[in-house]
């Protein structure tokens, strides 16, 4: 609030200073002629000086004097009698006062309101560094830690503290470097090794590289139950094409871990995705006839589920598309109709269904 008071004072002072000249009774005479007259008079003197220095011949000096004299006369003739304190002049002053009182604060507030950050305090570095305890500035602490580590590269504890922070910030190369430094100067530690592997994996866009796998293997050697290392090793198996092996490893990991562990959700999710992918692949592997049968079965299953009630736009769209591709036109139309009824509240969804029907060439019998 304090800052708005300061702004108010600034605005007030500026406007007051603007209004000031309007409050004075103006001296009459608003023309440049007085100065012009003095200029031409001094020019006459200058001509004499130039002549004395030989810069001007006598004849030319006479002509120049005549010219300056003519200008002097003209300047005197230009004098306009100024209007005094008349009614219109007072009205003009009032109008311009109103303009100042409104325009200046409005413009300032408009611009400052758009671009200013009145709630952000100053944060000079010295003050931030001086702060201690819980109000400490994370960025400053972090920068100080980095500086400390740059000066003391053998501080294993510091490295192992900063590494996970790098990892969370997405600075994977820095994280890998920090984990590696912690390991280089300290005892081998499964958590750090697993972290190193994870940082290397994430730095490689999720590919468990040979060096990452090495780190994970080291970790499992020290601690066979390390969940992070086991998870990534399973990922490595999958990436090598050994999907059944990967699924087995993950199941194994789940079985051996407490159900409330934070990471089980991630493992389950991964497992579910791998299994559904495996199912798709299994169908693809069937002979032609059997494959169609299997697909029909799946589609019918979906239809049954949707008929029972509910269903999202995505599910309905999948069903309609599947029916249409399988050549079951009547059933596709039926699905379109039911979907419209079910999704009636959602105008966008209805429109999407319509567009899909159009795209698939499903013409409804006009009611």
């Amino acid at each position: 609030m304090m800052i708005w008071a300061v702004f108010a004072v600034m605005t007030g002072a500026a406007i007051f200073a603007l209004l000031w000249p309007l409050s004075r009774v103006s001296a009459p005479g608003f023309a440049d002629t007085a100065d012009a007259r003095s200029l031409y008079r001094s020019q006459l003197g200058e001509i004499d000086r130039d002549m004395a220095r030989g810069l001007l011949a006598t004849e030319e000096a006479d002509a120049a004097r005549a010219e300056a004299g003519r200008r002097l006369l003209r300047a005197a003739g230009d004098e306009v009698s100024p209007p005094g304190e008349t009614e219109p002049s007072l009205r003009r002053r009032r109008a311009s006062s109103a303009l100042m009182l409104s325009l200046v604060p409005i413009l300032a507030l408009l611009v400052y309101g758009t671009y200013g950050s009145p709630d952000t305090p100053d944060q000079p570095l010295a003050a931030r560094l001086a702060k201690a305890g819980p109000q400490q500035d994370f960025a400053v602490v972090f920068a100080r830690m980095e500086a400390h580590l740059a000066a003391h590269p053998t501080d294993t504890k510091g490295w192992s503290l900063i590494a996970p922070i790098y990892l969370r910030q997405g600075r994977y190369d820095d994280a890998a470097n920090a984990f590696a430094s912690a390991l280089r100067y300290g005892k081998p530690d499964p958590e750090l090794l697993a972290g190193l592997g994870e940082a290397r994996t994430l730095a490689a866009d999720g590919v468990v590289t040979a060096s990452a796998r090495e780190a994970f293997s080291e970790a499992t050697k020290l601690d066979p139950g390390n969940p992070r290392a086991r998870y990534y090793l399973a990922l490595a198996q999958e990436q090598d094409g050994d999907e059944p092996g990967a699924v087995a490893s993950l199941k194994n990991l789940l079985a051996g871990s407490p159900p409330d562990a934070a990471w089980t959700a991630a493992v389950r999710d991964r497992l579910a995705r791998m299994e559904s992918a495996a199912g798709r692949d299994a169908i693809a592997a069937l002979p032609d006839g059997a494959r169609e049968e299997a697909i029909r079965g799946m589609v019918d299953g979906l239809a049954e589920r949707l008929d029972a009630g509910g269903g999202t736009l995505a599910e309905w769209s999948r069903l309609i598309r599947a029916r249409s591709v399988l050549g079951q036109k009547a059933q596709a139309l039926q699905a379109v109709k039911t979907a419209r009824e079910r999704l009636a509240q959602d105008a966008a969804a209805v429109a999407a269904i319509g567009a899909l029907a159009q795209e698939l060439g499903l013409k409804e019998a006009t009611p």
Binding site: A14, P21, L22, R41, A64, V104
Partner: protein, 658 residues
Amino acid sequence: MIVEIGHYALALALGVSVIQALVPLWGLSRQDRALASVGASAALISFALVALAFACLVASYVRSDFSVANVFENSHSAQPLIYKFTSVWGNHEGSLLLWVFILTLFGALVALSRRSLPPRLRAGALATQGLVAVAFLAFTLLTSNPFRRLSPAPAEGQDLNPILQDLGLAIHPPLLYVGYVGFSMTYAFAVAALIDGRIDAMWARAVRPWTLLAWTFLTLGIAMGSYWAYYELGWGGWWFWDPVENASFMPWLAGTALIHSLVVMEKRDALKVWTILLAILTFSLSLLGTFVVRSGVLTSVHSFASDPARGLFILLILVFFVGGSLALFAWRAPLLRQGGLFAPISRESALVVNNIFLATACATVFVGTLYPLALEMLTGDKISVGAPFFNATFVPVVVPLLLFLPIGQSLAWKRGDLLGAAQRNLAACGLAVLAALALIAFTRGGPVLAPLGVGLGLFLVLGAGFDLGERIVARASGWPAMLSRARGLPRSAWGTALAHAGIGLSIIGIAAAAWSSEAIAVLKPGERLTAGRYTVVLESVVPRTGPNFRAEVARFQLFAGDRELAPVEASKRVYTARSMPTTEAGIRTDWLSQAYVSLGEAQGDGLAVRLYDKPLILLIWIGALVMAIGGTLSLTDRRFRLAAPRRAAPLAAPQPAE
């Protein structure tokens, strides 16, 4: 709170500038002195506000407040204090704030010079200036806000571009901006005069000191920029005909022409249309320079962070101010009354010739600078217009101008005697030719143009000296008479002579560049390298740590022939925050010449070293300095203190009661 106060002050200044642009104009059209006088107080207030904003930004930099985006992007807590300070304008946003700061400073100065400026002209000029301020304040606030905040604040800044971490940054931009912005003042006066329809000798006299001031600072700014490029960029060149340099050189040429045509206008009330046009064009060229440098059309050290939105904004400003003033000019210029007469051969005509040549020279630079840009925009072809183009076009225009300069300088007003003037310069010319011939004989086999250039420079210096000498010596006998004549000579005469001699000195320095030589070699400690008169011996290479950089420093012993000079150090630095390398040349000044050592890459266990012998190179900048001193002297001429000496002047005609 300091940051936000600065931001608000800038926003408030925008509002005040709008008032400054509108109300005095209304007062002018209604002959209302009270309304017109609002311009002066508005100018003072907006100066105070912008100065406050500037001080707040400086405070944020000095205190390393990285919650300000601009500070974060261009400063580092480990920088020495002086660079924390200069970082303020070492970037686009901050330098724009400096621009506006100087703009409002000029406005405040005009507002305060109540005695030397006619009231109507002052009101009109302040209104125009207010309009320029509105445009640039809006540009700063809307597209390039230096007070943008970051939350959370980063712990460390990204450091200033290392090339800019130099004392040159403390000097070059402020000087250059005073020059550029000073020309906005002459522009404002021109527009005010066009609006009011009063353009006469009075106007010329009121405007001349402002023009001289701007010109003096622009001269210093360009010279400083050139010297900075010379020692910082590490390849020993001092002028590259780079578009950015040309952008500052064009207003200088136009401003030089303007100074000269103003003289004619003041004396004879002639050349009005041309002078007004020049005043408009000079500032337009300044604006064009700003546009070219800031819009991202070009890339260079100067083009900081360029952004198309900003480019468009500046283009709009450019179109508005240039187009608007030219339209006003087209409408009003035909109404001007014809002024006094002068013969075809006279000082006035000589000044007209000067203007023709300078305008042509400016046009060649304009074409050489903008043609490649236009071509690239239209066809996508990149062509490079460099020294060869300018040597072929600019030099042939300037050489006759310079040859003619001493003669024009000694012509009489109104009607002169060409033969007499030529005769008066015969001695100077003869001496210069002799010197050139002696140099040709002495440096046989060397470049032919260099002695001729030196001769030309000498001609200018001697011509200026003889002209002064003649005025002091002629017809006076004895020292006391001469001394009193010297004292009686107006300061502007001294200024003219100095400025012209300064050009001569610069020309000598430029011509002598043809004798410079360079040598490159890979040196191991103990090995030597010779270029021209200088020999260096590599002593040692040692690492060194600065506040925010690491450097490899090479120490050299330096010999000029058999004479041993003080040792010289050259280094390569790496600034840690941006991990960007720079080279710091080692320069040893030997009278007016310099030995210049710069380092290249390390090769094996040796170091690539480049040594230059730069004879008389300092004269280039000394000449500019002398020109600026001349400008300053003219500026202090008593004629410009209009109202003050009115009663003291003994020669003035008796004054009737007013």
